[in-house]
Symmetry: C2
Subunit: 228 residues, 2 copies
DNA sequence: CATTTAGTTCGATGTACATCGAAGCATCAT
DNA sequence: ATGATGCTTCGATGTACATCGAACTAAATG
């Protein structure tokens, strides 16, 4: 007669497999990927990937769009991304060597975290907005000030639109490589979109890291008041 | 040469097993439990539980305190609890029947979520504080107002102490049964502690649900301005 | 039409691991 | 001392499942 606690183990089991976890983290890049792309990413044959993708769909972690003979897969929603991000943080904390490790060029510098900017640049953006009094920082809590609100409205943000669904406007998100906050939520999503719209940067092939043009980086820095 | 993304799958694998997930959710109750208690909770023999507990320790999800011939296990920290909570939310979302289900007496009413109050009472507390202008609600974001700060200081909260480590003072946390916010973070932890200190309630045997005395419930309601 | 490409289904193989019984150490009680 | 309790290690058993080769469907291409 007791209320059953939801059974975590099945969902965790979906993430537990090495190939599937690679697929999921690849999809943290935010963009939809095809089955074969994901099979390459996961380093398994297409047949194996197909089986995994079926399971991830069944488990409601992914969604598909069919286009011609291609199938484009995506994370099902922000809640899924949140779980993955938390797991990344936890793993990064318990294995300090690999995480803050020395190597790596681009992924550490700037990458996409589901639908917003992460990496060094993401953290810099966060810090700049805080020191410009556009963002108030309370640990993991973050709030856009009036000044910040008017500023982003001048850039074209429609906050009316944001409030329509339940997603928070502005949410901080712990970065597993930097271990610092960066901006998630609606605003984070909008900013990343803006970056691509302005053609300041483009997403790399590996679907997670992004590269700024030199002009784009300058524009980004000046628009968001990041002091070099 | 690329930076390796942390391997989520190993941590997920620890949670993926049915017995281990039962152990972990049992420990979401916040209080330390012995190996045999956990073996009962997980519905396996002591030997099996022992093997699982060793793995969870190895994987840094748990910590132990040895006392005499007993071993008391606990979640290693808030980050672990955060992952579990996110997984609970995700699972609850994808299986709506079981989660918001009809049955259940106590667990739905008031329970402990790692170190703070959840369930109907937790949500009521949250709402009351918001409507009393002590808490500002921005979706998943929450902030204590000046009014709230002074109020809690009058109850004996030492905010100086809170700021010493990195944990956020006040953080909202999605409730998997109610699908509404409740208070986590330092303040959430303090409030739960206060409830036990005042002997308004005691934690049940199943380690997750808590029962208020009738006097305690009244005191709780009036202290935190919850209108019946 | 035939041919390539994307994705699937099926069956066989192998491996990882959860489980418990039995036996072994501690620690507490009497 | 002797016995009881809490927890662990070892070994044997069984099962679940990831993997790929081979063969199949569906869509684009020419």
């Amino acid at each position: 007669m007791e209320i059953m606690e939801p059974d975590i183990s099945t969902v965790a089991g979906l993430i537990a497999d090495s190939a599937r976890s690679k697929i999921l983290t690849a999809l943290m890049g935010g963009q939809a990927l095809t089955a074969t792309e994901l099979s390459i990413e996961a380093d398994v044959t297409p047949q194996t990937a197909s089986s995994h993708l079926a399971k991830l769909l069944e488990g409601e972690l992914l969604q598909v769009r069919k286009q011609g003979r291609h199938k484009y897969f995506q994370l099902k929603g922000p809640h899924v991304a949140a779980v993955l991000e938390q797991l990344l943080v936890l793993t990064a904390l318990s294995t300090p060597k690999t995480s803050t490790g020395p190597k790596d060029p681009r992924l550490k510098h700037a990458r996409v975290c589901y639908d917003h900017l992460a990496g060094e640049l993401g953290v810099q953006l966060y810090d700049a907005l805080v020191s410009a009094n556009m963002l108030e920082d309370f640990g993991e809590l973050t709030r856009l000030t009036e000044k910040g609100k008017t500023y982003f409205m001048s850039l074209g943000v429609d906050f009316q639109q944001f409030n329509k669904n339940s997603r928070p406007v502005c949410k901080s998100c712990l970065d597993w490589s930097e271990r610092r906050n960066h901006i998630a939520g609606h605003l984070g999503s909008w900013i990343l979109n803006y970056i691509f719209e302005q053609k300041w940067a483009k997403q790399d092939l590996d679907a997670r890291s992004i590269t700024f043009t030199s002009k784009g980086l300058k524009a980004f820095n000046s628009t968001f008041l990041i002091k070099q």
